[in-house]
Amino acid sequence: MTKKLFFNPARCTGCRACEVACSFRKERVFSPELSRIRVVKLDEDGVDIPTGCEHCEGAPCIHICPTRAVRRKADTGAVVVDADACIGCKQCMVVCPFGAIHFDCDRRAVFKCDLCDGDPECVKWCFTGGVTYGETAELPAGKRHRTARRHVKAQAARGKGRAGA
């Protein structure tokens, strides 16, 4: 059982409530710059793309960290940073494929999403499905069943057509 955050650009409105919700939960201030989740807004193209840590299985940030400050938490599966052990070398920022690790200039350490210990704040402010938190296995299962429901509808429609003819 692994839960993760799913980012779905097609369902993101680009409102960025997730960003300020995140910074508030983590830092008690409103600041997208301190948010662990970021929405890339391409206004000219009318596209909004939520981005954040994918908590990769073979997380390059864990492998590159020279002080083992980046590790995986057993309970949530989240890749987390121990700010006290971080030496600020920023190698994890370099190897992260998603730009999901940030540097805090005040603390002189990196920070990133820790899934709020299994209760992510960003999800509470997103009701269009731009960011959701769920079981990895349920993602394809949900899609399978939505497809199946469309088949049910299609069959019902065919039945009606015959009855009316």
Binding site: T13, V29, E44
Partner: protein, 669 residues
């Protein structure tokens, strides 16, 4: 909060003097925060304080303010608003316009509650702000470029996360309704403040902010913001999903069904081609977002997502893309009698790229179409009649480029054009105080209509946005809030003055706080409406489960300034009284609190609102009642000293007294 003492605010304003080429950071006046809140309210206060009434809108000494509010940039429903204010070149009275953006929040994160600009640069410049660094950059290569190209180039120069507010070539050329466009598509367009920017040789104001905003009471704040958010999600109108699915363009078919969709320069209020320019049509043909959810794009921290982004891939308008709203669609669509959505979309985006207010632009074209059909103007080789999409698009170019006589006249707005044309053309105007009327026929919807007559920036719905009368709410809600059951009937007059007064005050508050009109005046999620709707509902919810946006609590938790509902509504009244004071200084008089002849004399000829008129006698009566509520003298429309004193505006009263602009109330001679 550091140092400043109040949460929510960044604590500083950025002043830029373009004549000297300098910028400086000035601490915010704390007293103005409690009295005028921020945004629209503080902008009016700044203009009153700093701009001599003799200074013309486009003079170098004129000021322009661009101000988010204390809630802008925070978490909560609709905290992306920014206010732009100055003296309007179009109307020569108070001009302001408000936009839902990411620019406003970004300015707060950069550490400013507003930018105030004065002076005139010798050569074209743009102001770029990066946190505490603010400086003027050369814009000679951007001058003459469209808004879209300008925005794209500034993003290239300063990075893709920069937010850009830009003026367009129409404003540079002197079109009097130039817009300020934020991040490609978000317009603060009404009253022509883009022209004020351009008159200063200022092409754009861009900002990148990486700081943080604190609030006074974080736990209380979270609770208030969360309740407001939930109130939106619970709202009956929001729950239909229609507004979210279609954006404001939902009003095309809705307004048509209710008989208030202005058609052919307000000759009619029902458009046979409405279906073809509707929100549904746009969704099906051009929208690029997944439907039904989310379907649209949202301003900062807003659950509503009313921006409709779309793209035309084929045909003669291929390549057109951008965000649309109802007003632009109606301006170039039904008002011009055009039912070709591609042409309407294209004209709309052209107007944005030229940097022109689409409402003033579309209305002016519609006005010309009527004059041309009546033979009152020479159409200069165009077949300028209602419904001709090609002529409509061509006119946008001509006005944007000030090409030909009509282009030049059109760029000055329809009222000035009528004065130049003469021949009785004034009879076809739809302007109040020099500003073109938005897309809702005042004869068919009386609170809207009355609102146009008194709005402080001229004919306008957003000073109040009294959608209340259109929603068929329980009569009891209208009676309890506004003293008449007729308040919920859009054709009737009863209760409409109090309805408008309440909406105007609340709108002034939200414009000042940096939140959006739609949350209390499209949806009705604002205290005390959800509570009242529940009280009179057929099936009532447990009152403890009814949520509402309580701006007073929300503001108090953010700033630490004690606030009640009544005090907040009083702040709204204060803002509107101050705007009245500004307008009086700039020459406005009671006689201009009226509606154009067409709405008072010509009944609507057909459609669902057939026979409706705005009764001139009723208007007089309503004005009297309105002046009483506002504390203005019935005879002269001038504010009374005792009311201004009650609003803690003794200084403003003294100023008006010196200029002979106070009403003759008790104790005045």
């Amino acid at each position: 909060m550091s140092g400043f003492g109040y949460g929510g605010y960044a604590g500083f304003l950025l002043f830029a003097d373009l004549t000297k080429g300098t910028t400086k950071r000035i601490p915010l006046e704390k007293e103005w925060c409690t009295l005028y809140l921020g945004g629209r309210g503080r902008d009016a206060r700044l203009l009153f304080e700093r701009q001599d009434p003799s200074v013309g809108p486009l003079d170098p000494d004129a000021h322009i303010c661009m101000s988010p509010g204390p809630l802008t940039g925070l978490l909560g429903p609709t905290t992306g608003r920014v206010n732009v204010a100055g003296r309007s070149p179009l109307t020569t009275i108070y001009g302001n316009s408000n936009a839902g953006t990411n620019w406003g929040p970004e300015l707060k994160f950069a550490g400013y509650d507003g930018v105030v600009i004065t002076g005139r640069s010798q050569s074209p410049v743009y102001l770029h702000i990066h946190d505490s660094q603010a400086r003027l950059w050369d814009a000679s290569r951007l001058w003459g470029e469209g808004v879209f190209e300008t925005t794209a180039r500034i993003l290239e120069e300063h990075g893709p996360e920069t937010k850009v507010a830009a003026a367009g070539p129409a404003a540079e050329g002197g079109c009097l309704f130039g817009s300020v466009i934020f991040d490609f598509w978000d317009a603060a367009a009404r009253t022509g403040l883009g022209t004020v920017l351009a008159s200063k040789n200022l092409k754009a104001v861009s900002v990148r902010g990486t700081g943080a905003i604190r609030v006074a009471d974080p736990d209380g704040y979270y609770e208030a913001a969360r309740e407001g958010w939930q109130a939106i999600l619970d709202d009956a109108g929001f729950r239909t999903g229609e507004h979210s699915a279609l954006g404001t363009s939902i009003c095309v078919n809705w307004g048509n069904a209710q008989g208030w969709l202005p058609t052919r320069n307000f000759r009619e209020s029902h458009f046979e081609g409405a279906d073809r320019i509707s929100g549904e049509e746009f969704r099906d043909l051009y929208s690029t977002k997944e439907a039904p959810v989310p379907a649209g794009r949202a301003c900062f921290s807003c659950p509503n997502r009313c921006k409709r982004y779309g793209r035309i891939d084929e045909g003669k308008y291929a390549g057109t893309r951008g965000n649309i709203e109802f007003e632009g669609v109606a301006a170039f669509g039904s008002k011009c009698g055009v039912d070709d959505l591609a042409a309407v979309f294209h004209a709309y985006m052209l107007a944005n790229d030229y940097g022109m207010d689409c409402i003033s632009c579309g209305n002016t074209i519609a006005f010309f179409m009527e004059l041309s059909e009546k033979g009152l103007i020479d159409a200069e080789g165009l077949d300028l009649r209602f419904g001709n999409a090609d002529a409509m698009v061509e006119m946008v170019h001509r006005i944007g480029n000030r090409e030909g006589r009509l282009g030049k006249l059109g760029s000055q707005g329809s009222e000035r054009a009528a004065r130049a044309i003469g021949k009785g053309s004034e009879a076809f105007l739809n302007t109040v105080k020099g500003m073109e009327t938005i897309a809702c026929d005042p004869r068919a919807s009386k609170a809207f209509g009355f609102g146009y007559a008194v709005a402080s920036r001229g004919s306008d719905h957003l000073r109040a946005h009294p959608v209340f009368e259109m929603l068929k709410l329980p009569e009891g809600v209208g009676e309890e809030l506004f003293g008449s059951k007729e308040a919920v009937d859009l054709r009737k007059y009863g209760g409409k003055v109090r309805l408008l007064f309440w909406h105007e005050n609340l709108a002034a508050v939200t414009d000042s706080l940096g939140s959006c009109r739609f949350m209390h005046a499209s949806y009705y999620a604002e205290y005390p409406v959800p509570e009242l709707v529940n009280k009179y509902a057929k099936r009532r919810k447990d009152p403890s489960k009814v949520h509402s946006i309580k701006y007073h609590r929300w503001f108090e938790a953010a700033t630490g300034i004690p606030m009640t509902y009544e005090r907040l509504m009083e702040a709204g009244d204060r803002v509107i009284n101050l705007e009245r004071a500004l307008n009086l200084q700039w020459g406005l008089r009671k006689e201009q609190d009226t509606l154009p002849a067409r709405f008072l004399k010509e009944p609507i000829p057909k459609g669902p609102a057939k026979g409706e008129l705005f009764d001139p006698e009723m208007l007089e009566k309503m004005l009297g009642e309105y002046y009483d509520l506002r504390g203005w003298d019935r005879e002269s429309g001038l504010p009374l000293r005792e009311h201004l004193d009650k609003l803690e505006m003794a200084g403003v009263a003294a100023c008006l007294g010196k200029r002979g602009l106070l009403g003759k109330g008790k104790g005045e001679v």
